[in-house]
């Protein structure tokens, strides 16, 4: 399978603090790739580096055959990368519907946008129930659903998800991961998933990478990674 996103030899730093060193990752087209690692390993920084936000980088990032490193965040988004950031990044003072409408901001195909509203509401019926409500008043799980819904409104080729399970009850996490699998299957959207919850992520993803203090120490089929004794001990807890 071909890669939709290829990162080669990526270094990233906040000011003088180096976070990533020589990271190379490929996300295969139509697949789900997980990026695992402990707190502070550089998972969020990798996603930020892809979107060129808040971090200084060197190395090459190729998306759908074109170099995107060094481009402005909004241009990268317009090329088809939807980033669901850590902390969800919803617009708290705007309504659910307005949040979703902003996802479709750059699109001109009005009829298809209306269909996509229905599609998102079908995946997340709770968002339809609360479509006139201010996003800031939603629960954590609903905010995560809204953040994913907003990303879907962009009709992205690649979805970047930063810890969608963070701070949520296990049942909600299950539901969100089930919907993510459905989205990947139905929409053929490629996914790069960053997770601390390695069990869940390895279940969902076809490919996985393991990041430790800024370096990739292992990568390959999820099943192989999940079977590795050192990974089981350090990340899966059995």
């Amino acid at each position: 399978m071909s890669a939709i996103l290829e990162i080669a030899n990526l270094n990233a730093a906040y000011g003088e603090t180096k976070v990533l060193q020589g990271v190379s990752i490929a996300v295969e087209e139509g697949g789900i790739t997980a990026l695992l690692g402990a707190n502070g390993a550089g998972k969020t920084t990798t996603l930020r580096a892809i979107c060129n936000m808040m971090v200084r980088t060197s190395g090459t990032i190729t998306f759908a055959g074109e170099r995107i490193d060094g481009r402005a965040t909004e241009d990268i988004a317009r090329r088809g990368i939807a980033h669901v950031p850590d902390g969800r990044g919803t617009f708290g003072h705007l309504t659910v519907e307005e949040n979703l409408r902003l996802g479709a901001y750059t699109r001109r195909d009005r009829a298809a946008v209306n269909d996509d509203f229905q599609r998102v509401y079908a995946y997340f019926p709770r968002l339809l129930e609360r479509h006139k409500q201010q996003a800031g008043t939603l629960s954590g799980g609903e905010q995560q659903m809204l953040a994913i819904g907003r990303a879907l409104m962009m009709r992205p080729k690649l979805l970047l998800l930063d810890e969608p399970s963070f701070g949520l009850a296990p049942l909600i996490v299950r539901e969100i991961f089930r919907i993510l699998a459905a989205i990947n299957k139905d929409e053929k959207t490629s996914v790069l998933l960053v997770e601390q919850n390695a069990n869940l992520a390895l279940e969902l993803a076809g490919q996985a990478y393991l990041l430790e203090t800024g370096k990739i120490i292992m990568g390959g089929e999820s099943a192989v990674i999940a079977g590795d004794p050192s990974v089981r001990r350090a990340y899966l807890g059995y």
Binding site: C51, M53, M54, A72, T73, E74, A77, R78, A82, H83, P85, G89, T90, F91, G92, H93, L94, E98, R101, L102, G103, Y105, T106, R150, M154
Partner: protein
């Protein structure tokens, strides 16, 4: 009673001017978290452009709309050329830049047009076509223009995609970029609109106050008082605050403190609100977790 009604209505009319400028201040504040102290001087300078156009023989409304375009461009210029380089500078550096702009525009206007007071035409008829004598035709027209401006701005932010994107960019620039909104353009657009709204306030005020480089100084203070009173992070609260300040200023001037101390009323409003209700009447009280 008649005199009271007259003062009240005339306060509403001048309040409209303060409301417009307060709205301009809040529009810039929401996206940059800075008060543009030069907003009044930009409006004054734009009004001089309108005066020049009228002198050159342009009909009033043509001059009016050309001035709006100029004021919009001036707002965009100030944002993109002067403020962008200091957007990451410390709070006080930006305040100094704004105060610098205030002084620069004031002096440039004085240098080009001299400090001699000039009359500025009103587009409204001098004879009242309506019976009452509470308000001059210009004051009635001024209220109408203010309402149209507020209505247009409200509709723009509420019902258009661009308005929604501007609200998003002001609220959360990082997330806005992630959905492809060009935040820099939104800031420029906001500054341009603020400039144009300010220019309307200037052109409406000039026939009453007469045109001179210090014309907007007092108005900026009243507008600021209005914005603080209504809530600096709420455009509609700020506009309403501007109207309230206009009424209070007029009534206090007529019945309590006399015309000489009118400006003090604005300062008292600012201090009073900051002491007793810092978020303003309609502002959001922001609580941050440490």
């Amino acid at each position: 009673m008649q005199a009271f009604l007259h003062q009240l209505l005339s306060g509403l009319a001048t309040g409209g001017i303060y409301a417009s400028l307060a709205l301009a201040l809040v529009m810039v504040y929401q996206s940059t978290h800075h008060i543009n102290f030069a907003q009044g001087e930009l409006a004054m300078f734009s009004t001089y452009i309108a005066w020049t156009l009228v002198q050159a023989g342009f009909p009033y409304w043509e001059a009016f709309f050309l001035t709006l375009i100029f004021a919009f461009a001036l707002g965009v210029f100030v944002q993109n050329v002067i403020l962008k380089p200091v957007e990451n500078a410390s709070f006080f550096s930006v305040v100094m830049v704004f105060i610098g702009l205030l002084v620069i525009f004031n002096s440039v206007a004085g240098w080009i047009y001299t400090y001699t007071v000039k009359t500025f035409p009103s587009p409204f008829p001098t004879q009242a076509w309506y019976g009452g004598s509470y308000l001059s035709p210009h004051e009635v027209g001024m209220m109408g223009v203010t309402l149209v401006v507020l209505g247009l701005v409200f509709a723009f932010f509420r019902f258009t995609k661009l308005g929604l994107a501007m609200r998003a960019a002001a609220q959360n620039p990082v997330s806005s970029r992630l959905v492809g909104i060009r935040v820099g353009w939104m800031l420029a657009l906001g500054a341009g609109l603020a400039g144009a709204i300010g220019a309307v306030a200037g052109m409406m005020a000039a026939p009453i106050l007469y045109l001179e480089p210090n014309m907007m100084g007092g108005i900026l203070l009243y507008a600021l008082a209005g914005a603080v009173l209504g809530g600096i992070d709420n455009p509609w609260g700020a506009a309403l605050g501007g109207v309230l300040v206009g009424v209070v200023e007029n009534l206090a001037g007529a019945y309590v403190v006399g015309t000489e101390l009118k400006l003090t009323v604005a300062l008292c409003v600012i201090v009073g609100v900051l002491v007793f209700k810092p978020s303003g009447l309609f502002g959001r009280f922001v609580v941050t977790r440490v």
